[in-house]
């Protein structure tokens, strides 16, 4: 079976006026289908760069990124991906139902499938009552939920969540946890980037920790964290050590 995500020596460098910035350095990672993978790292570690490369927004400077065996820059790779951005924003001039319908059309789904999925997702995200109101009138939480519903319109085999719980209230976080559990039960893969270590500990089968653009640890949570140690302690120790090691490396 093809890995859901396969990164091979992935490096991304941004040219800047003050010299090149190495956002990712030689990241190699393979995630099997059906895994809930937590992708952790401090700010500026390379989490969003990795996600943007997986989605084909960025081309690798070196190495390759594959999604279900397809090169990440290929349009076909995105047919099986659902993506919820950090601080998601959307077309506020549309109604919730229009947004989901247009999303379904972009995946070339048939009208009956679009109608059925839109109704179900609106129901799942408690937005049925607001479905025909413009998103401009939605609260922040409602906007996050409609963006989440949008990311599920194609029933993706790989769901990429970039800091999905940032700014969410406890109920919203619980909703995200419930969603991730449901995706896993359906055999789908979830790639979950987060600062919220407690959330990651609760829902993820495996975690990867990135610091300074390098993947510094990867494995099952139970294998990485010693008994009696928290994931948070492990993360802080690892990232601090990685920062000390890479200091001075251009």
């Amino acid at each position: 079976m093809q890995p859901a995500i396969d990164l091979r020596g992935l490096s991304v460098t941004f040219p800047t006026p003050s010299g090149p910035v190495h956002a990712l350095r030689d990241v190699t990672l393979s995630i099997e289908p059906g895994t809930v993978f937590g992708f952790l790292g401090p700010n500026g570690a390379g989490k969003t760069t990795t996600i943007h490369t997986l989605l084909g927004f960025l081309e690798p400077t070196a190495g390759q990124a594959f999604v279900f065996g397809q090169e990440s820059t290929a349009t076909i790779a995105r047919e099986r991906i659902g993506y919820l951005a950090e601080n998601p924003d959307t077309y506020t001039f549309l109604t919730g139902r229009e947004l989901l319908t247009l999303t379904g059309k972009l995946f070339l789904l048939g009208p009956a499938v679009i109608r059925e999925r839109a109704d179900r997702l609106l129901d799942d995200t408690a937005l049925t009552g607001a479905a025909d109101r413009r998103i401009a009138g939605y609260s922040r939480g409602m906007r996050q939920r409609i963006c989440l519903a949008q990311s599920l319109m194609n029933d993706p085999d790989l769901l990429i969540l970039d800091e999905p719980t940032g700014g969410m209230d406890p109920l919203g976080r619980m909703e995200i946890r419930r969603l991730i559990t449901a995706r896993k039960a359906a055999g789908k893969t979830v790639f979950f980037s987060s600062h919220e270590l407690s959330e990651v500990e609760l829902v993820c089968d495996r975690v990867g920790i990135v610091a300074g653009g390098r993947l510094v640890a990867e494995g099952a949570t139970a294998d990485l964290v010693k008994p009696g140690q928290s994931l948070e302690r492990y993360f802080v120790d690892l990232v601090t050590a990685a920062a000390a090691r890479t200091e001075g490396v251009p």
Binding site: F14, F57, T90, Y91, S151
Partner: protein, 262 residues
């Protein structure tokens, strides 16, 4: 290209709901009221005068609408962050460019059609008439010119922010409207290197005057020949396609900079 069509429908929703297009209609309505009411130098009953002013207004308003709406399409997707969920779907950047172009073009075409119908109504009210075939030809060529203008706006906005793209587009297309038809006259009195520069400019600038049949309509010169029409349409289609290709080249590897990508 089905996805390009779907992207274009997003543009239609936005333009209809943002309501800024209605401001132009109000401006046109105000202009027409003035045209109907005014009787400058006793010319109020001369329908040629009404046609001339009305068609000039349609060209000016179409030009403003085409540039002002096309240049903001891509930059606003980036600044509000909607580019990320959009391109996370199986939409290619070429489909995005074509979808945005098509969306703006159809809205501007519809607005200009309303202008033409309104002008036609005023002319009829004043007891005048248009040659229907010439009016249709004028509208078709105007539509092709708008396709080129929208493609220029989209192409400039792939690499410039909305303000810079607007300024550049207005200067470039304004110069093309005003200067290109006069270059042959200027060449007669501009020898040497400057003449060569002018010749180069003549071939570089889009020739929007070719799409402008206003004088034929105003002076009732009759319709244009089929071969000339086909030639001008082909020229316009190639120009629009060329600018769309430029837009794609400028956009296909573009990195987006909302927030910190690291």
């Amino acid at each position: 290209m089905k996805r390009a069509w779907i992207v274009s429908t997003i543009v239609w929703y936005e333009m209809l709901r943002r309501k800024d297009i209605y401001v132009l209609f109000i401006m046109l309505a105000a202009l027409l009221v003035v045209m109907i009411a005014l009787d400058v130098f006793g010319l109020g009953q001369v329908t040629g005068y009404v046609k001339d002013i009305g068609l000039l207004a349609a060209w000016l308003l179409g030009w403003i609408l085409a540039i002002s709406t096309s240049i903001r399409q891509l930059p606003q997707e980036e600044t509000r962050g909607t580019i990320f969920p959009l391109l996370a779907k199986p939409v290619t950047r070429w489909e995005l460019i074509v979808g945005k172009w098509l969306g703006v073009w159809v809205v501007v075409l519809t607005a200009v059609l309303m202008f033409y119908l309104t002008i036609w109504g005023v002319v009829v009210l004043k007891g005048g008439a248009f040659n229907p075939l010439t009016l249709l030809q004028a509208y078709v060529l105007h539509a092709i010119a708008l396709a080129v203008l929208v493609a220029i706006g989209i192409a400039l906005s792939t690499r410039l922010n909305a303000d810079a793209a607007a300024a550049t587009a207005y200067v470039l297309t304004g110069a093309a409207f005003a200067l290109a038809p006069r270059i042959p006259v200027l060449l007669a009195v501009t020898p040497g290197f400057r003449g060569m520069l002018l010749t180069g400019l003549y071939y570089l600038l889009p020739h929007f005057e070719l799409f402008d049949l206003r004088r034929r309509l105003v002076h009732d010169w009759g319709s244009a020949g089929g071969v000339a029409m086909a030639g001008v349409i082909l020229y316009g289609v190639l120009l629009a396609l060329g600018f769309l290709l430029l837009a794609w080249i400028g956009y296909r590897r573009k990195r987006f900079s909302r927030g910190d990508l690291l």
